[in-house]
Symmetry: C2
Subunit: 431 residues, 2 copies
């Protein structure tokens, strides 16, 4: 500790749900944190959009500014916490702080997934830590275990539920709500934003999948490289049919390393009802890490919310402050090697396909033939309804994404098929 | 990185299950680790009991010695890994390495639980890291999340299954095996040692509970301060009765912070069948961390075995090597404040009591009165059997340990009670 002074000056960009909670805890728990860590975390400056707005924390008014540049430039600010979110202006502020040789802690998954490689490289050049535990999994420690504790493991797969909002909506739909009602309830509870697009489209989960894949495999996977589908087109019927077939529907983020390269993707999927992820309810997140030595590790907990996320930010702040006081930098924790990004079209999964068909002899034969032409074979078929039309629920054997899609297009073109009402990927535990 | 040389010389004390796996991976994965971390981990010297014994790794013969002091003293060894286990001579070797200013990574829960406070203080004085992720939870990252990521959380409770051997035995007993058969099977599979005392007595779990409590609460809880009971007196009948009552029996490590102080304990307990810990089978470990901000976090995975444990050691080795190359030390990660250790006698739980009694009128009244005199009230009673004798299964309401024990002694002294056949604590999720 330089000069024995345990004080570290903190500047905070943003005082919304996470930032406001963080400031309150830095102020209220200052003595408790110093007792436990030996570090005196001192809030020096806070940038907010509207300084006049009432806040849940109590700090002298002169600490609050609407100019985030003042926070970064303040010589008393030794460590910058970015909790404003979004790519701009967060990105240029983080960039400026790192350039100025100030450690940065951020909860901004969007920024890290889009520009993490450059920012991590900049942090390394400037010799300062850039920490982002809170970017994935809210209060669940997952970034640090991946980047540090498991640095010696050849991780094969990271998969799980990384968006609490959509898991809440799916849980409600499983309990009988329609999508619109479930979304409205999630909004009323504060789980979903007034504009829920980032969550329900899968974009938020895709950013997290990009970060998890990059850290797990040591090859940078930008968010552009993560195909994603959301839950906004999911129908309650398919959740009910899934359950009838012994599955639950979850929005999964899946990152794998195969011979073809690394691959990350986000989409709703049917998983067997007995799989541990099937029983993860409401806004909880749960992530499995698989590797040859550790077999399977599970991390679960609250995936969002001000308090859990602020806890993760605070852990990073303490870590960065420790490095400041030690007068040395040990982070960044990982380096990235060039690597192949596997094409999603080559990823093999099973598919569930719901078809509205004519109820006449030979229909199934035509459908099976259409699948067969794409080398997709049918594992099981259930027929619902009779009379003028029928519903077929088909589960295929494993086949590449591109073949499954072609097969479904061929089926759609058949005269006996009135519509392809739904498709969902089916993930078995070992995929 | 000093001089740009990324090499760190490693000395290893012990090449048993964990040490042998570690050496093999350090040798085989050397390039992969360097690609991912930028660090060249170079095994310089290995101390073993019998250098002539065949090993699963390939290193030049001159690296292997039967003198562990040579490893610690070797000027080419910059980092010492202690995986020999036991308090002696491991303790004096770790002490010597730290005194010499060499970072130490250890998997030795017994040593850390007994002498962690002094060793951590010594490491701090000498300005070197002492890391022990592998001491608890095998391959599950739990030490670092507790000490770092959750450094800003006021943790209230850490509870879980931290001994894979006993969980395997309990799983077999739940499937119908007797204790002796289940133990023999665990030994045949290598889960249990030829002398299984440390595992089945609860001592191993108590050492882990001491470490978890110390890190969670920031007050040092030595292993002497952890009361423990094992599974060696458990009867298959009680596992069956527990299941009949809607519970599973698990060996739990529980650390709590209350107004009376911090408390850690290890004992078998009945937990509701619907609780997530009830479904943790075989040698898996699972640990819940509870706090006001993070609510409840779950960490689960393989709790023992050479590969997972070596992975945790390797993560620490990479971390310590990074600090060596940075020319600075950021660890130790936590400091301990004096605090009260709460007396186990004051800890309140529910109890399950199995009594063999005379089958005559008024028996229950006498038993209830004996409990009542100690302010222990009975929640439910089941009677099994009829005729000359009967079995009573009693579950009490929550009361302090000391009162439950006194009540059971009073009941034992009753003429109508032939024997107190078993007692077990009952843990509800919220305890």
């Amino acid at each position: 500790m330089r000069n024995g002074d345990p004080t570290v000056g903190i500047g905070i960009l943003g005082a919304g749900t996470v930032g406001g909670t963080l400031v309150r805890r830095l102020v209220d728990d200052r003595e408790a944190i110093q007792a436990k860590t030996g570090i005196d975390l001192h809030v020096r400056r806070i940038a907010v959009r509207d300084p006049a707005k009432p806040r849940a924390f109590h700090v002298p008014a002169e600490l609050v500014t609407d100019d985030p540049g003042l926070v970064v430039d303040d010589p008393d600010v030794q460590l910058v916490v970015e909790v404003m979110g979004g790519k701009d202006p967060a990105g240029s502020l983080v960039h400026a702080a790192l350039e100025a040789g100030k450690p940065v802690v951020t909860a901004n998954k969007e920024l890290i997934a889009a520009h993490g490689a450059e920012l991590i490289a900049l942090a390394e050049r400037r010799g300062v830590p850039l920490l982002f535990e809170a970017a994935v999994g809210g209060g669940i420690p997952i970034i640090r275990p991946l980047a540090e504790t498991l640095a010696g493991e050849q991780i094969e797969r990271v998969a799980g539920i990384v968006n609490g909002t959509t898991n809440y909506i799916l849980t409600r739909m499983g309990d009988g709500d329609d999508y619109a009602d479930a979304l409205a309830e999630a909004q009323a509870l504060g789980y979903a934003e007034p504009d829920p697009t980032a969550d329900v489209s899968g974009a938020d989960a895709a950013a997290k999948a990009a970060i998890l894949a990059s850290l797990a495999f040591g090859t940078w996977v930008g968010s552009d490289a993560v195909p994603f589908e959301g839950i906004d087109r999911l129908r309650r019927e398919d959740i009910e049919f899934a359950r009838f077939l012994g599955y639950e529907v979850k929005l999964l983020a899946i990152a794998t390393r195969t011979a073809a390269g690394v691959c990350a993707r986000v989409h709703p999927a049917m998983i067997p009802a007995g799989h541990p992820l099937a029983s993860i309810r409401a806004a909880t997140n749960a992530i499995f890490i698989t590797g040859p030595s550790v077999d399977e590790l599970l991390f679960a907990g609250p995936g969002a919310g001000g308090e859990p996320t602020a806890t993760a930010v605070l852990g990073d702040v303490i870590d960065a402050a420790r490095e400041i006081l030690a007068g040395a930098v040990v982070a960044p924790r990982i380096r990235f090697s060039p690597g192949e990004i596997a094409d999603f079209g080559g990823v093999a999964t099973k598919w569930y396909v719901r078809l509205e068909v004519e109820d006449e002899p030979g229909v199934l034969a035509q459908i099976a033939a259409a699948f067969g032409e794409e080398q997709v074979s049918i594992k099981s078929v259930w027929q619902e309804g009779e009379g003028s039309g029928a519903t077929l629920l088909i589960i295929t054997h494993r086949a590449a994404e591109a073949r499954q899609r072609s097969a479904v297009e061929s089926v759609r073109a058949l005269d006996v098929v009135r519509s392809v009402a739904a498709t969902l990927r089916v993930e078995s535990p070992e995929v």
